[in-house]
């Protein structure tokens, strides 16, 4: 299951979560779409939920943990400026941010 392809992104890199909504099962929460975050961990490769619809999820794709700032995520966020949210996003859902 590990390392079939080189990861496109590295820890610390800024990425945007694609603002797509394909008409199939996918596991990217709406609140995260279009948001910019930072890679905090490069995970293994796993089956893409969209691809499991047609079979075994292959080819497996790289998964990352992405950290978002809560203040940028929610309008009028009532917590503290340093609060964060981490979630898991597959590589095809990430876009580089300069």
């Amino acid at each position: 299951m590990k390392t079939q392809g080189e990861p496109r992104y590295a820890v610390g890199q800024s990425v945007r979560i694609a603002p797509r909504t394909p008409p199939v099962h996918h596991r990217v929460p709406s609140y995260a779409k279009g948001r910019v975050g930072r890679i905090v961990r490069v995970c293994s490769e796993h089956g893409l939920p969209e691809a499991y619809i047609r079979g075994d999820g292959r080819p497996f794709r790289r998964l990352y943990r992405v950290r978002l700032a809560q203040e940028q995520l929610w309008e009028g966020y009532a917590g503290q400026p340093g609060d964060t949210l981490d979630l898991e996003i597959f590589e095809p859902w990430l876009e580089p941010v300069e």
């Binding site: 995970c43 998964l63 943990r65 503290q80 981490d86 898991e88 597959f90």
Partner: protein
Amino acid sequence: MTSDPSAPHGHEPGHAHGHDHGHGHDHGHGHDEGHGHDHARTFQPDLSEPTSDAALIGVALRRLLLERGLYTAEEERATIQRMAGANPGNGARIAARAWSDPAFRERLLADGAEAIKELGYDLSPLEFTVLENDERLHNVVVCTLCSCYPRALLGQSPAWYKSKNYRARIVREPRTVLAEFGVALPDSVEVRVHDSTAELRYMVLPQRPPGTESLDEAALAALVTRDSLIGTQRDLTPKDPAAH
């Protein structure tokens, strides 16, 4: 089962009720002959049926899998038994080991899935990830899309973990929700919400309570609660403070 708005007396949709409401039926209770009795209070269908299309598909799929021999009923039973045996005590044991053994703690935080194999747990291919609380950080876990939870390790998740209330609010207003759980967080502590969206499963490593230096691993494990492993509890307290 689709609901049938014409079903009389608010009966469960799909319930086959052939009895005559006027007379002669026997529900096994001493009902009044004036027939003003309340079915909603006194009657339950003998057989419950799947209540949704999804439930029906589940029943059909299971039958097909067994029929095709993809697994056996005995394998299914053994799997259910194994999963039913999982409980928060496993997480407590892992936390206590991490508190007692700094090298294990390092391995656990670096690669939880590998480290817990040392204690006999294997969650692969899921990536088991341990999130360590400290004085400046509080971690809390949710699955906003469904109810992902390290069930094979910690057992079934609590009902509130699966509720839309928790799933919607813990990401949006974590401090408010945590306060409702009794977690009072100073502004100086960062709250980090972990949304379990794919192939990772999470467990929080709570802080070791003060005054527990003399405790062995088993005694330490006894202090760890399920909620502290999810992050809806922060401070653990020794069971009997007077003993220390």
